[in-house]
């Protein structure tokens, strides 16, 4: 009888410690922040060589998505929207999703005020 009581006490000690020490530990959302970095850097790379402005002026999301393929790490899914005011949201089913905005004023021959919304998910 005494042994059972001591065994129960030992189990309660362990469970209580686990709950108190670990239950309130917040889970930092590091993955999506890193995805946003990948996305921003990818768009910046395309911006620096002038291709992003071209895609934006043409509203060519297909070409933009193709160019991003080699810049976004494997395992991260993505899609883009090019818009100014009325921006459609792609239908994406995922619990872990984030997005990044990237603005462009076009190029020397075409002034446009538009943005790319890059959606990233797993």
């Amino acid at each position: 009888m005494m042994k059972t009581l001591e065994a129960m006490l030992a189990i309660i000690m362990i469970i209580t410690t686990f709950l108190v020490a670990y239950k309130s530990v917040p889970t930092p959302d590091i993955a999506t922040v890193n995805w946003r970095y990948y996305g921003f850097n990818a768009l910046q790379t395309l911006d620096s060589n002038g291709t992003l402005a071209k895609y934006i002026i043409e509203s060519n999301t297909t070409a933009l998505n193709n160019s991003l393929a080699s810049l976004i790490p494997a395992g991260i899914s993505y899609d883009t929207t090019i818009c100014s005011t009325d921006c459609s949201t792609p239908s994406i089913e995922s619990n872990t999703i984030t997005s990044i905005y990237y603005y462009s004023a076009g190029n020397a021959t075409n002034f446009v005020a538009k943005k790319v919304i890059l959606y990233l998910w797993s």
Binding site: L9, M13, T17, F18, V25, P26, N34, G106, N107, F111
Partner: protein
């Protein structure tokens, strides 16, 4: 002394509890959270620099268009409205000055365009022009509006003037000195921009001057 089985359980439990506590301390969640917050703040700064680049690019793209100041401001308004849609606030002020080709010892006029996007009305603004220490007072500049004034100067040689701008709104009181380089035979655009980008994580600030010589056929 011989321990019974029950006492052994208790000693084992004490050891496990100690190990769990040590593991929890070594996890250093606070450090990870702080690091994550820092990453998000850096991302906010990058996003603001993207808007800054858009403003610089707007001047390049509107180089040969007389309404270049208005178009640059329309880009700012676009970015501002867009960020509002995701609960971020882009606020600030732009002071864009432009003068035509300067002829030595002839009076030249300079157009100054002030765009208030501070998020509140500028109750009063005082512009002091160092050329002649003249003072222009403006009042009640509503948010998201543009105000234009004309200043003049007359010089026989290259010089730098200063446009001292002090303003007061319900959100801010500030004094900004914008240097206006005057060059005989040159036409210049001098854009001063101050922006604050407020997100859930941080409020990075960008303040810069964008100067262009307007005598070429294209931006150089």
């Amino acid at each position: 002394m011989v321990m019974n089985k029950g006492q052994m359980y208790l000693i084992l439990a004490t050891i496990i509890v100690t190990v769990l506590a040590i593991l929890r301390i070594s996890l250093n969640i606070d450090f990870i959270l702080e690091n994550n917050k820092q990453l998000q703040q850096n991302l906010d700064t990058l996003e603001l620099s993207n808007i800054e680049n858009g403003i610089r690019q707007s001047l390049v793209n509107n180089y040969n268009i007389p309404a270049r100041s208005d178009n640059i401001n329309s880009f700012i308004d676009f970015a501002r409205s867009s960020e509002l849609g995701r609960s971020n606030t882009l606020s600030g002020i732009s002071i864009q000055s432009e003068y035509p080709t300067v002829i030595a010892s002839s009076t030249a006029t300079m157009n100054v365009t002030i765009y208030n996007f501070l998020g509140s009305q500028i109750d009063s603004m005082i512009l002091t022009w160092s050329y002649d220490n003249s003072i222009t007072t403006l009042t009640n500049l509503a948010d998201n509006t543009t105000t234009k004034i004309i200043l003049s100067f007359n010089t026989a040689s290259n010089t730098n003037y200063v446009l001292i701008t002090s303003y007061t709104s319900s959100n801010a009181t500030a004094v900004k000195n914008v240097t206006i380089p005057v060059e005989i035979g040159a036409s210049k655009f001098i854009g001063f921009y101050r922006m604050a980008f407020s997100t859930q994580q941080s409020t990075p600030i960008s303040e810069f001057t964008n100067t262009a010589n307007m005598n070429q056929t294209q931006y150089a």
